[in-house]
């Protein structure tokens, strides 16, 4: 049992390696882009918005950076996982690997990217002189639940995509709503009460908020967010897994 498990993990790492290689196939800087692009984005947004939106936000560049990398992790993992089953048709028919592996390897790839982006954050903390507290240890917990959440969504999307190719368009609309209402570059404080309430229930905002609070501001978020963090992750994960197990054979026939 543990032997096959090891094998699966090995396969997943190989798939991930392939994925990353392919993504940066022709590029000179390669994986360094995982560090560079959020950094450049932060510079751009800070330059633009330090005037309009930064009022009342301490360490604005860091505030944006954390939000950006957390949301990019979610959006790249789920959008790439959506086509995972479809893209790996041939390999799935020929091998006996559990089909989940293909979906999970996409999420794992995004996680590796997130790791690199976090390296750059150390640099930002030094430059902005953000005090480091023990609360930073809560960040991996947040990422763990975010990953579980992303897996659940990914399971669901990868199955549905086989039946409904328009899902790409539908999902990009959903992502648009969810990311615009995740307080990426503005603060929720100035908003109308209805809108800020809506944002506070947004699962992505929950993960962003907890990450910001524990890393930048050295505090623990309100219990509401911790409950949401766990509830969203577990709820979506089990639901996604359930749908995946139920439908994976139907999907194989369809492919």
């Amino acid at each position: 049992m543990s032997g096959t498990r090891k094998q699966h993990i090995y396969v997943m790492r190989e798939l991930t390696r392939r994925e990353i290689k392919r993504k940066y196939a022709r590029s000179y800087l390669g994986i360094a882009w995982s560090i560079l692009s959020p950094l450049l984005n932060m510079v751009v947004v800070t330059f633009m918005f330090s005037y309009i939106f930064s009022k009342g936000i301490e360490y604005y560049p860091a505030y944006y950076y954390i939000g950006y990398i957390v949301i990019s992790f979610f959006s790249t993992s789920t959008t790439t996982a959506m086509t995972a089953l479809y893209d790996n048709k041939n390999m799935m028919l020929k091998t006996k690997l559990p089909r989940r592996t293909f979906v999970l390897s996409r999420v794992y790839t995004a996680l590796v990217n997130l790791g690199f982006s976090c390296i750059a954050f150390i640099f930002i903390m030094v430059v902005l002189k953000i005090p480091v507290t023990w609360m930073i240890l809560l960040f991996p917990v947040d990422v763990f639940f975010l990953m579980i959440f992303s897996m659940g969504i990914s399971y669901f999307l990868s199955i549905w995509y086989v039946f409904f190719r328009d899902l790409k368009n539908v999902y990009s609309i959903i992502m648009m709503v969810v990311t615009r209402f995740a307080a990426l570059f503005y603060s929720v404080d100035g908003l109308a009460p209805g809108v800020s309430r809506f944002i506070s229930f947004n699962p992505l905002y929950t993960y962003v908020k907890i990450a910001r609070d524990c890393i930048i501001y050295g505090k623990i978020s309100e219990p509401q967010y911790w409950i949401q963090m766990v509830a969203w992750a577990l709820g979506i994960f089990f639901l996604g897994r359930l749908i995946f197990n139920k439908k994976e054979n139907v999907v194989m026939e369809k492919l």
Binding site: A25, R26, S27, Y28, L29, W33, L36, S37, L40, N41, V44, V45, F47, M48, F49, S50, Y51, I52, F53, F164, R165, D166, K168, N169, S172, I173, M176, V177, R180, F181, Y186, G190, L191, A192, V195
Partner: protein
């Protein structure tokens, strides 16, 4: 080259242009069909996507900036569809040469066609999004005046800007693939710096200066003036946009023609 050969070349050119245009349309229709995978919704996405995108931004930023949502919708919409035109035109031109490797090697289609085709597809998507735009103008009771006749001019000028930049990007991408990532970052700067949801008055003076040189912002401002406010766009905007179009188009063509000669070897 002798006089006779030159004349021959001109004759060939005329029939060629017809042929090229045919190829452009064929490639474009293939691409459009492939892009919309479902038959049910098909082209509807081209109308729906920019519409929903506008709606989200309008709702969010009307609350951030305390603006009346009704007037804000056409304001934002003018911005989002023009940004969409630039972004999809330039972004797809970026991949025009690299992704058409096979066609480039196997056929004698002039390389120009690949760029024109991408911009043509972006233009068609843009025209679709206009459907939603007109609906919003009617719903919000926006009255257009005679100045609206100038609106197509602004779009035509920006097409030249897009082709020029697109050509430069496509060539660079052959030699330096990392341009894709730079492009993404720069487009984020352009995205926020084209005043889709705020006026120049809202940003820092330094930022306002930068925006004044952003062709996307200039086009958006141009269209807002003539569609929403029934004004003739400011002379400075005309000058800047036309200079951009002429300079970028010529520069792009020169770089493209020089660059593509070596492209085949490189690919």
């Amino acid at each position: 080259m002798s006089q006779g050969q030159k004349k021959d070349k001109n004759d060939i050119r005329k029939t060629d242009i017809k042929q090229y245009w045919f190829i452009v349309r064929q490639m474009a229709s293939r691409e459009i069909k492939r892009g919309n995978t479902s038959k049910i919704l098909g082209q509807m996405w081209n109308i729906l996507m920019p519409f929903i995108s506008m709606l989200i931004m309008a709702i969010l930023f009307a609350t951030v900036f305390n603006r009346d949502i009704k007037g804000f919708m056409p304001y934002v919409y003018t911005g989002t569809i023009i940004f969409g035109l630039y972004n999809s035109g330039m972004g797809s031109a970026l991949h025009a040469l690299v992704n058409n490797k096979n066609l480039l090697i196997k056929t004698k289609i002039p390389t120009n066609v690949f760029i024109i085709e991408k911009v043509y597809v972006a233009m068609i998507h843009f025209l679709f999004s206009l459907v939603g735009y007109v609906v919003i103008l009617i719903i919000t009771g926006t009255r257009v005046g005679p100045a609206v006749a100038l609106a197509p001019l602004g779009i035509i000028i920006s097409i030249f800007v897009i082709i020029g930049i697109g050509k430069i990007l496509a060539v660079i991408n052959v030699y330096f693939a990392d341009i894709q990532y730079f492009y993404k970052v720069i487009m984020r700067l352009v995205f926020y710096g084209s005043g889709m949801f705020f006026d120049v008055g809202h940003v820092s003076p330094a930022m306002a200066k930068v925006m004044g040189f952003n062709p996307v912002y200039l086009t958006i401002h141009f269209e807002r003036q003539c569609i929403l406010y029934n004004q003739i766009p400011d002379p400075m905007i005309w000058v800047k946009l036309i200079v951009y179009a002429v300079v970028l188009y010529i520069l792009g063509s020169i770089i493209f023609n020089r660059g593509t000669q070596n492209v085949l070897a490189k690919i």
